[in-house]
Symmetry: C2
Subunit: 330 residues, 2 copies
């Protein structure tokens, strides 16, 4: 029997997570029971929401010291006791940070044949992509000419949201944390401009780039940035509240913008939780597979090699050092 | 020629406005020019947004010391140089806090014949009513069984919003500042319950009355109350951002709730500005005239007598002491 290596949470980080908050341990090789499937992990997705899980405050549940880290994976079926799955099927499941996992057959999903690159099922064609599509297309309903601001501009969600807005004919302004990221956003992803949030005053730069205000803000960050952008909304603006990167490493929660800003803009503000849009996943995958084939949607992944690299890759993600969607090839 | 008595702003209040911040002066009797109409004020509307105007931070413009106070009125045409208006017509206009005013014919509107009581064109069938209708019916889209929370429960906007929610089959919880107001909300306006916000902990009382959370919050207050209610939103909640009573007497603006609360509830939050809904005013008046005739919509007005009583009535309004929509019979 093979070893099942696992990454467990060793201790709960108080601010920025560090590799020593995790431990690589040999776990029990799981057994597939009735109607269950044994899977071998191919790719693991690393996402900012995991920071909330290990802080014990995510709606999907908590990860405590001694628990295996949770996470979505693309995995290969290596043993099946379920009629719908055969050995060799490539599936999407919450396999976690480990080599092997067992699942009830009704909790896993085959990766659609149209998805050539299996890791894409965790990035542009997976949950981050669905998040971007739901917020940008279904909630914000972009119109040609809208001015759209995308923080975390080349991250897993932001990169898809920004490119979708371009496809819909919007002017898209990214915000990112390094010049390298900003260059990539403009040169490779087609953003009209990208602001390095660590250089100069964000508000002043937005005033220059968006003299008539911001029509759509896809908020992945919260904190001060949400206030700064909310002060500059155009009448009829849409704000998608999706992520809180500014708060994930903090123990307190930032307050939101003064409501007057949203009243003044007659804004519509949407709280986005991607799980609500699962029933429409096929619609999104079909649209985005097409955009990728047409070269309109560029997928950039930041791929770490091997399970033992996962803690460091996650810490880099939480420091904002990833270039593209963070995944681990197991 | 008759005197044109006017109430002017004497000085800008720093916190609660007091009668001495206003002065009653004899103004010039205005003359109707070409295409203009001379009106005599019948009723003057007093509204919380005026506190923002005299603070110089309302989107409709500022009122400075020495200026006549602005405000919507129901007035009678006493001289007309405009083809659409005859002497004796009752019109809705922004006549201000004075006896006589002159208007271009295209800036005033006849009070619909269906409105028996002219002052209603300033309350339940006027701008406060339109505000309530736009937010509750058009934006929040109430469904039978929704749990609705209405602060300023018996005020000009709140009393209409709450009764509309009852008409749509919702459970309606009011919030008001005195036991007398709460009694009136339950006994006369049909609220299911009403919380005196000055007694006990608001959050605990909401937890008891809304064990499954709040589906619609029609926010007229902002500040801490918005946070307290936002913590208790049900999934799929709608929040109407309409008023900021908690901030009107302050020089700083309260921050909004942490965005996480709205994400968790998948809330849709609407910034409401009543002017946007002017094109649909007839639709609202027709619906609400019918509700009044059927006895489903009770109109309560807090009527002060005479222009000289306006400053005191406005100060009472800003202290929350009015019972129903504040108007002045001139």
């Amino acid at each position: 029997m093979k070893d099942n290596m696992q990454v467990q949470l060793a201790s709960t980080p108080e601010s920025q997570p560090l590799p020593e908050h995790f431990s690589l341990v040999k776990g029990d090789m799981p057994q597939a029971g009735e109607n269950q499937v044994l899977c071998e992990t191919m790719y693991l997705s690393l996402d900012p929401y995991m920071r909330s899980q290990i802080a014990g405050r995510h709606m999907s549940g908590s990860v405590n010291p001694g628990d295996v880290m949770r996470g979505e994976t693309v995995s290969k079926v290596i043993e099946s006791n379920h009629a719908n799955f055969n050995v060799g099927d490539v599936v999407r499941c919450f396999g976690g940070w480990q080599n092997y996992s067992v699942h009830d057959g009704d909790t896993i999903f085959k990766v659609k044949k149209e998805i050539d690159n299996p890791s894409y099922a965790l990035s542009a064609l997976g949950m981050p992509g669905l998040t971007a599509y739901a917020g940008m297309v279904w909630q914000a309903q972009p119109k040609a000419g809208d001015v759209v601001v995308i923080p975390a501009a080349i991250g897993g969600v932001g990169s898809v949201a920004g490119q979708l807005a371009k496809i819909y004919g919007c002017t898209v302004i990214g915000i990112a944390g390094t010049d390298e990221k900003c260059d990539y956003a403009v040169k490779n992803l087609g953003y009209d401009a990208c602001i390095n949030r660590k250089k100069g005053d964000l508000g002043e730069q937005l005033d220059k780039l968006c003299p008539n205000g911001v029509d759509i803000f896809f908020d992945l960050v919260g904190g001060d940035m949400l206030n700064t952008v909310s002060e500059r909304l155009a009448v009829g603006a849409r704000v998608i509240l999706c992520g809180l990167m500014a708060d994930y490493n903090k123990t307190t929660r930032s307050m939101g913008p003064p409501p007057a800003m949203w009243i003044k803009a007659r804004a519509i503000v949407y709280g986005l939780v991607v799980y609500d849009f699962e029933p429409r996943r096929d619609e999104f995958v079909d649209a985005c597979v097409k955009y990728i084939k047409e070269g309109k949607l560029i997928v950039r992944e930041d791929v770490a090699q091997g399970l033992e690299a996962a803690p460091d890759a996650f810490c880099r993600l939480m420091r904002g050092e990833n270039m593209g969607k963070a995944v681990v090839k197991i």
